[in-house]
């Protein structure tokens, strides 16, 4: 047993070692930087992943603009479908120190050759730096209050252009202006702008306000950027940019102390909270010119490049080949449709996936859209995918341009496939798995079919029953609790039930009025009256002699007349029941009436 287990472990270890050595030949190097747009002083995380070489020590090139402040590393082993992959991850935390675009590359020396990762560009902007298209300073004027005095604090939305083209990036910058002598403490945004007619992306902005001195209408102010957005107009015509509102806690600086114009505004030396908001702005969006527009242009606006690759150069007929097209650059990548493909008739397009990635920088929105297209050749042969074109309007050049790739080629081998007449032109990846299968067949004939009917949830009766049920349960439960409590108090319980039970016996006696059984009639009368008294006095009914009963009733405050009536009825009942005295119907009716009156008197007097 031990030998067998040991052999098994040895085989597994051998298999792992063999697989590991096989995997070692395929070293993969990847570089990732997050985020890709930062301000000077902000930190980024740089990750280098080396797969297939456990001892590798990669280098980072092009990181002069960053100061590395922390390093971490870790490794992981994955086994997928029997293939082992070992990956080491080196993570650097770096602080951006210089503005500009840094292009980072990871390198790894292995067996005399140098592996290089795909380069990654990181945009580093200076905090508080003016936008690419500086706002026209003359457009900002000082607002005044009702007395004509310059407002000590206000906000403006400043646009990079007032007549953008459809799809062209327009930058709006919200800036707050504060008079010299006023010290801002903290702020919060309480009105988020709405952009009608635009696709908007927020650009990176520092979390703190970096004030700089400006002079507007000969008045010294301090201004800071609060928010910045990249806006892409979707249609020609009027479009509007909403206002941004903020609350700011402010106080006077020592320099501003005693400055009269502010006394009414900042009359507290401890400061106060001030609300301000920018005014909404309208812009006119121009249509893109028709002159020079390529026939295959659809909606692309920006600056783009395109690349394409096939995941293999040779495949079998009926087997998938993945074509990956990457369009990247600056602009609204969402508007870029999948480039048109001039494919051979024998190539079918299966799944198409489009994955857009948008990274908002300080000034521009850099974007990337990856199209993954599965192609399947139905016949053997050499196939060429002609150059892929991505036409776009370039706002910088004010003209149309076309980004292209080189043609791609692959070979399909094997037998030609039979046509699938029922299949639509484009199938998904799952369809590839389902090929060769078919629909579950139709159901057979039936004598009758299920008719359409209203679901239960649409029937009010169902909800009424379900709603009434807890009320019923509650009602019954309350009743049960009440009965339980009464039973717990036996004396009270008997007293409350006394009259009801006596009446019940009287009813039974009444039923015997017309019958010849006089003794039974009087027995019921006797039980009704005595039972009532026993219940009221909480004692056993048969335990009384007439004298004892009279004494107890006298103690309970019952009048002598009532006690006398009781004695008379008792005596009459005894004579009929035990002495065989005759009692016709008239006499019994009279006795019944007296018993009823007696019970009423007893009830009244005992209650009292």
């Amino acid at each position: 047993m031990w030998i067998r287990t040991g052999s098994l472990i040895l085989i597994i270890l051998l298999a792992l070692t063999t697989a590991a050595s096989a995997a070692r030949d395929q070293v993969r190097l990847e570089l990732e930087v997050q985020p890709r747009s930062v301000l000077v002083g902000d930190s980024v995380e740089i990750s280098i992943v080396v797969e297939g070489d456990r001892k590798a020590q990669p280098q980072l090139e092009g990181a002069e603009a960053f100061r590395i402040v922390g390093t971490q590393s870790g490794s992981s082993v994955r086994i997928i479908n029997g293939v082992i992959s070992i990956s080491n991850t080196f993570t650097y935390t770096a602080v951006a120190q210089r503005a500009g675009t840094a292009t980072l590359t990871a390198t790894l020396k292995q067996r005399g050759r140098t592996l290089r990762s795909e380069p990654v560009s990181v945009l580093v902007a200076q905090a508080g730096q003016a936008p690419a298209t500086p706002p026209p300073s003359g457009s900002v004027s000082v607002p005044t209050d009702a007395q004509g005095r310059a407002k000590p604090m206000f906000m403006r939305a400043i646009l990079s252009a007032d007549k953008p083209y459809v799809g062209e990036q327009l930058t709006v910058e919200y800036r707050v202006y504060i008079r010299e002598g006023v010290r801002p403490r903290n702020f919060s945004l309480n009105e988020v702008p709405e952009f009608t007619g635009f696709v908007a992306h927020e650009l990176i902005t520092s979390n703190r306000l970096n004030f700089e001195g400006v002079t507007i209408d000969d008045t010294p102010y301090r201004a800071a950027t609060v928010k910045r957005y990249a806006l892409f107009p979707v249609a020609p015509g009027e479009a509007s940019i909403g206002s941004l509102g903020m609350q700011m806690s402010v106080a006077r600086t020592s320099r501003g102390r005693g400055w009269d114009p502010f006394e009414d505004f900042f009359d507290l030396s401890q400061g106060r909270t001030v609300q301000t908001a920018s005014q909404p702005v309208s812009v006119t969006v121009l249509p893109l010119p028709a002159a020079g527009r390529p026939a295959d242009w659809r909606e692309g606006v920006g600056t783009y490049k395109v690349s394409a690759q096939l995941d293999r150069g040779e495949t079998a007929v009926g087997e998938p080949v993945e074509l990956k097209i990457v369009v990247e650059g600056y602009g609204n990548v969402d508007s870029i449709p999948r480039p048109q493909l001039a494919l051979d008739e024998a190539i079918r397009v299966y799944s198409e996936k489009a994955k857009p990635e948008v990274v908002a920088g300080y000034d521009l929105v850099s974007s990337k859209k990856t199209f993954e297209i599965i192609l399947i050749a139905a016949k053997p042969g050499e196939y060429e995918i002609p150059a892929i074109r991505v036409p776009f309007w370039d706002p910088k050049e004010k003209g149309y341009r076309v980004a292209t790739t080189a043609p791609l080629r692959f070979t399909a081998t094997g037998e030609a496939e039979a046509a699938q007449p029922q299949a639509p032109g484009v199938l998904s990846r799952e369809a590839i798995e389902l090929r060769g299968r078919d629909l579950r067949y139709i159901r057979g004939d039936k004598q009758s079919l299920r008719p359409a009917h209203k679901p239960w949830s649409a029937r009010p009766a169902v909800w009424i029953i379900l709603g009434l049920w807890p009320l019923l349960v509650l009602g019954v439960t309350i009743h049960q609790i009440r009965v339980g409590r009464l039973r717990a108090d036996r004396r009270s319980w008997r007293s409350r039930r006394a009259l009801r039970e006596a009446k019940q016996r009287l009813t039974e006696a009444r039923a015997l009025l017309a019958k010849p059984e006089a003794a039974r009639f009087y027995a019921e009368l006797h039980r009704a009256v005595l039972g009532f008294i026993a219940d009221k006095l909480d004692t056993a009914a048969p335990g009384f002699s007439p004298d004892e009963l009279a004494a107890r009733l006298d103690e309970a405050g019952v009048s002598d007349e009532t006690i006398g009536n009781l004695r008379d009825l008792w005596r009459e009942a005894d004579h009929v029941r035990f002495a065989g005295q005759a009692a016709d119907q008239k006499r019994r009716k009279d006795a019944y009436g007296r018993a009823r009156d007696l019970l009423a008197d007893l009830a009244r007097e005992l209650e009292r």
Binding site: A235, S351, E352, K353, Q422, A423, P424, G425, V426, L427, S428, E430, A431, E433, L434, R437, D438, L439, R440, Y441, I442, R443, G444, D445, K446, Q447, S448, L449, R450, P451, A452, H453, K454, P455, W456, S457, A458, V462, L466, W469, P470, L472, V473, V476, T477, Q480, I481, G484
Partner: protein
């Protein structure tokens, strides 16, 4: 009026099998046509069965198969979805829906990432709204019954507790499913695109700007209808207007 009551009842009882026969006749005729490869005629026969008042999963399955054979992927998906509304655990319908879905040109967004939501959705998909409501109602009634019996059946306390626990379990299991399914059936207006390709516009007019394009089989949520256009939302959250003739609602008039 009292005298009319009995004849009317008899007439209703006699008429019910009559329409049932008509719907079944259409359905059986459709099966014959399908077997002969006359899919268009079979589709019309199944449609006639539905128009005759049938709301049977078998009709929807066969309708979907006929539509699929005619490359009407959207119509087939609509039919399978309608069938699953009645028999959510029907394996044939589930497979055919998956199969037809594989032929859709639009990729549906991935399922919920959160495990609990994924499990909840899968569970809800195994019951009709009526089944879930019946389960929740049974739990509700059992819980109340346990409360009622708690006093009088004190001698059988453990049996009453067991009854209450069973009711609570039924209620806890079925109530969320019933809520989700009843909401989906009664509140959400869902539909499926049955046209091969539809341009979704920014407004309810042919002249409105094109927003995006959807293809047969795309699930829609109807927001509002204006004239011959409906404002819809697709699973990715985008909204727009499309002609009402290009989709079919996932509900019957009786729902």
């Amino acid at each position: 009026m009292k005298r009319l009551w009995l004849p009317l009842l008899l007439l209703t009882l006699l008429a019910a099998p009559a329409w049932a026969d008509v719907a079944a006749d259409h359905y059986n005729r459709g099966n014959k046509l399908f077997s002969d490869g006359q899919y268009a005629e079979a589709l019309a026969a199944y449609q006639a069965a539905l128009d005759s008042g049938a709301d049977d999963a078998a009709v929807y399955l066969n309708f979907g198969n006929a539509a699929f054979r005619l490359n009407e992927v959207g119509l087939a998906i609509w039919a399978y979805e309608m069938g699953l509304r009645i028999e959510p655990r029907n394996e044939d319908l589930r497979f055919n829906l998956r199969y037809a879905g594989a032929f859709m040109r639009d990729e549906m967004p991935p399922a919920d990432e959160v495990f609990i939501l994924r499990v909840g959705r899968a569970l809800a998909g195994h019951f009709t709204a009526d089944e879930a409501l019946a389960g929740a109602a049974a739990g509700w009634l059992l819980c109340g019954l346990a409360v009622l019996l708690w006093g009088p059946w004190r001698r059988f306390r453990w049996r009453v507790i067991a009854l209450g626990v069973l009711g609570a379990l039924l209620l806890a299991f079925f109530a969320p499913i019933a809520a989700a399914n009843v909401h989906r059936q009664a509140v959400l207006d869902r539909a499926v695109v049955v046209a091969d390709e539809v341009v979704v516009r920014t407004g309810p007019a042919e002249t409105a700007k094109e927003a995006f394009t959807v293809h047969g089989g795309m699930r829609l949520e109807l927001i509002e209808t204006r004239d011959d256009y409906a404002r819809v939302r697709i699973p990715t959250g985008f909204e727009g207007w499309l002609p009402t003739e290009t989709y079919r609602a996932l509900r019957r008039d009786t729902d």
